[in-house]
């Protein structure tokens, strides 16, 4: 096999000498609970000091973090490169928009639509997963990219159902039934998103350390070896697609409810690329990394609004620089970190002997 055909483990070894000291990850790892509690408290109190627009942006960060957590399951845990992830976000959003707007005169409550939309997104994930089961790497990336574009083009052109580029508007605001409270300000949605985010991260975190998560990682590192060890590749790949998609579907429902109107132009390839980029920049396979990635990728451009013209320019250059100088992301996954550590020790033994 030539040098390009290497498993992730080899590449970590090749790249270990380039890693910057991973002190952030170490601190985070050592005081995990404390860090999490502080972050959560911060997220809880942040909107109190922010104006409505800033809260809106914070909500965006939350939505992207949620999608990042979902894509992280597919790309980070299971190692399946998905470039059409926005399709599931769109499916979730359109499911809610069609079931709770004047378009068909349906007004199904938000809370009932969530499980429906999540199920539809998961099903779409499986449907995409079946044909691409045997593909790896770049081919998978392109097929998923094609899938994402097809969904967007269909939404854009299926006028009788989606009203094409005009989009769907007057989407119902969610309300809490017993106390008849309607969510309609950015702050309300911020807290809804925060809850959804924490829930997603909790689920993803539990999955990571479960039997399923270990099977995914085994599959990511070496499919053949994993299969030989009894990992049912088909089952775990489809599971990764379905679970990853359901997070995006959930996010899509909240997005549609928050925006009040949605358009096919909200679901371009750029969204998929942004989510992928935040997963990678934050640290692939690491959930705190996803949060950091979302803050950097969604928050920073807002801070840089004055130089709007240049922000995508900077973003592109940042992606390239990141891959060259810190490919494991700002906060690397614990597993990867331990591997790097072990390889370092092995390396030092070799050089001293």
């Amino acid at each position: 096999m030539s040098s390009v055909h290497k498993g992730a483990f080899d590449s970590v070894r090749d790249w270990s000498h380039r890693l910057a000291p991973p002190w952030i990850s170490q601190v985070l790892g050592r005081h995990k609970r404390l860090t999490l509690a502080t972050l959560f408290l911060l997220a809880l109190l942040l909107p109190l000091r922010a104006d409505s627009y800033q809260v809106h942006i914070l909500g965006y960060i939350g939505l992207f973090a949620m999608m990042g957590v979902g894509l992280n399951v597919v790309v980070g845990f299971a190692g399946l490169l998905d470039l059409g992830y926005v399709a599931f976000f769109a499916i979730g959003a359109y499911t809610y928009a069609l079931l709770a707007s004047p378009q068909f005169g349906l007004h199904i409550p938000f809370w009932f639509v969530i499980p429906v939309a999540v199920a539809i997104a998961a099903l779409a994930g499986v449907l995409l997963g079946i044909p691409v089961l045997r593909m790896r790497g770049d081919y998978l990336a392109i097929v998923t990219l094609g899938f994402g574009e097809i969904i967007r083009l269909v939404l854009n052109n299926l006028d009788p159902v989606t009203r094409g580029p005009q989009g769907l508007s007057s989407i119902d605001r969610p309300s809490i039934p017993l106390i008849s409270f309607t969510l309609d300000t950015p702050i309300h949605f911020y807290y809804l998103i925060l809850i959804a985010c924490v829930l997603s991260m909790f689920i993803a975190g539990r999955l990571e350390n479960s039997r399923v998560g270990r099977a995914w990682v085994a599959m990511r590192e070496d499919e053949d070896a994993a299969a030989a060890m009894g990992v049912d590749l088909i089952k775990y790949k489809l599971l990764a697609f379905a679970i990853g998609a359901s997070f995006a579907g959930f996010g899509g429902v909240i997005f549609a409810a928050r925006q009040g109107s949605i358009f096919p132009a909200d679901f371009t390839l750029m969204v998929s690329i942004n989510v992928l980029a935040l997963v990678i920049i934050g640290g692939m396979g690491s959930i705190p990394g996803v949060v950091v990635g979302a803050i950097i990728l969604v928050g920073l451009p807002e801070v840089l609004r004055d130089i709007q013209q240049f922000r995508m320019l900077v973003f592109g250059a940042l992606l390239v620089a990141m891959m060259i100088f810190r490919p494991e992301g700002f906060i690397s996954a614990a597993r990867q970190r331990s591997e790097v550590q072990r390889i370092r020790e092995l390396g030092s033994v070799k050089t001293t002997s």
Binding site: M1, S2, S3, V4, H5, K6, A8, S11, D14, W15, V75, L81, P131, V132, R134, M135, R136, G137, D138, Y139, A141, I142, V143, L145, G146, F147, E149, I150, L153, V154, N156, N157, I273, L276, A277, I280, M284, Q309, F310, M312, L313, F315, G316, A317, L318, L319, V320, M322, M323, I324, P327
Partner: protein, 325 residues
């Protein structure tokens, strides 16, 4: 009463049907020409994807942007030559200069991309160069946007109106030009890859980099050459698209890039004749499908076809079986 009406309309109806059928046929022939024109442009861009995939097993996501920058280079050269009054009097020389400039710019840009964004990542995990390529693509798009603004740039008309008649089908001069020039480029590339020592080195590197290096081939240089040739072809394709559609902006690289990649996969990625066949095939399919179903779905057809080919025959039309990874 009834009888008479029927007998009187019947001959008219028959003639009408006959004319319609005739028109239909001409329309299809016309679409075939459109398809070939578009397809040969796809093929030129697809060659860059396929050659790079051949030597590096990576998708050069920024290749569409090389094409776009080539189109801009051609635009400025062409406009300048016309403004100086040189273009009007020396059409052939002007075309040669414009294509040369666009190809040199495209080639240099592609080599620069390889040097900055891909070479440091050659031994990195497979995801890394792909992300880097996406980053480079976003960077180039926005660099052009920042420098030249979002407005459409209008290519000056180079070719006289009218064209060659082929029965009832007329082919405009620009189409004839595009089809023949791209065929010439493809033929040239085929000879280059098959007959020259650099071409041989490319094939060796595509086969196995380490062994090629052991045989004394300068792998870095061969890869750079591959990018140079692919970039030059993309630059030429950029000028063709500019002349064909007459309007360009910073986004023109995206969809044609995806389509060209589709073409490369259709033909069997890594396979040089495959990219040519795939490009022409995709162009024809797109043109014919525009005749059969609403035109807005033509991109759906292209991507649907891509997904289908990858599922049924992932090695493409002419592809050989390559490694799973």
């Amino acid at each position: 009463m009834r009888q008479t009406t029927r007998s009187s309309t019947s001959p008219i109806k028959v003639t009408l049907e006959r004319t319609l059928r005739g028109m239909q046929l001409d329309l299809w022939a016309q679409q075939a020409i459109n398809g070939l024109t578009l397809g040969s442009i796809y093929a030129l861009v697809a060659l860059g994807y396929t050659m790079v995939y051949g030597v590096l097993q990576m998708i050069n996501f920024a290749h569409g942007e090389v094409f776009m920058v080539g189109s801009y280079a051609g635009f400025f050269t062409l406009t300048a030559l016309f403004a100086a009054g040189f273009g009007q009097s020396n059409l052939i020389l002007t075309l040669i200069i414009v294509f040369l400039v666009a190809m040199v710019v495209g080639g240099i840009l592609a080599v620069g991309l390889e040097r900055v964004a891909y070479r440091p990542l050659r031994r990195a995990p497979r995801l890394a160069p792909l992300i880097s390529a996406i980053g480079a693509s976003i960077f180039l798009q926005n660099a052009v946007l920042v420098i030249f603004g979002p407005r459409l740039q209008v290519y000056p008309y180079v070719f006289p109106a009218g064209g060659v008649s082929l029965g009832n089908v007329s082919i405009t001069y620009i189409r004839v030009f595009i089809i023949f020039l791209s065929l010439a480029f493809m033929l040239g590339l085929h000879v280059f890859v098959r007959r020259t020592s650099i071409g041989k080195a490319m094939r060796a590197v595509a086969e196995d980099k380490d062994t090629a290096a052991l045989m004394g081939i300068d792998v870095d240089r061969t890869i750079a050459t591959t990018f140079l040739v692919g970039g030059a072809l993309a630059g030429a394709a950029g000028v063709m698209v500019g002349m064909y559609y007459t309007q360009i902006n910073h986004m023109i690289g995206f969809v044609p890039g995806l389509k060209a990649f589709t073409a490369a996969v259709l033909g069997g990625i890594g396979n040089v004749p495959g990219a040519m066949v795939g490009g022409l095939f995709l162009g024809l399919i797109e043109a014919f499908s525009a005749q059969a179903i609403p035109a807005v779905y033509k991109d759906v057809v292209a991507f649907g076809l891509l997904v289908l080919v990858l599922i049924i025959r992932p090695t493409g039309i002419l592809g050989e079986v390559i490694g799973k990874k």
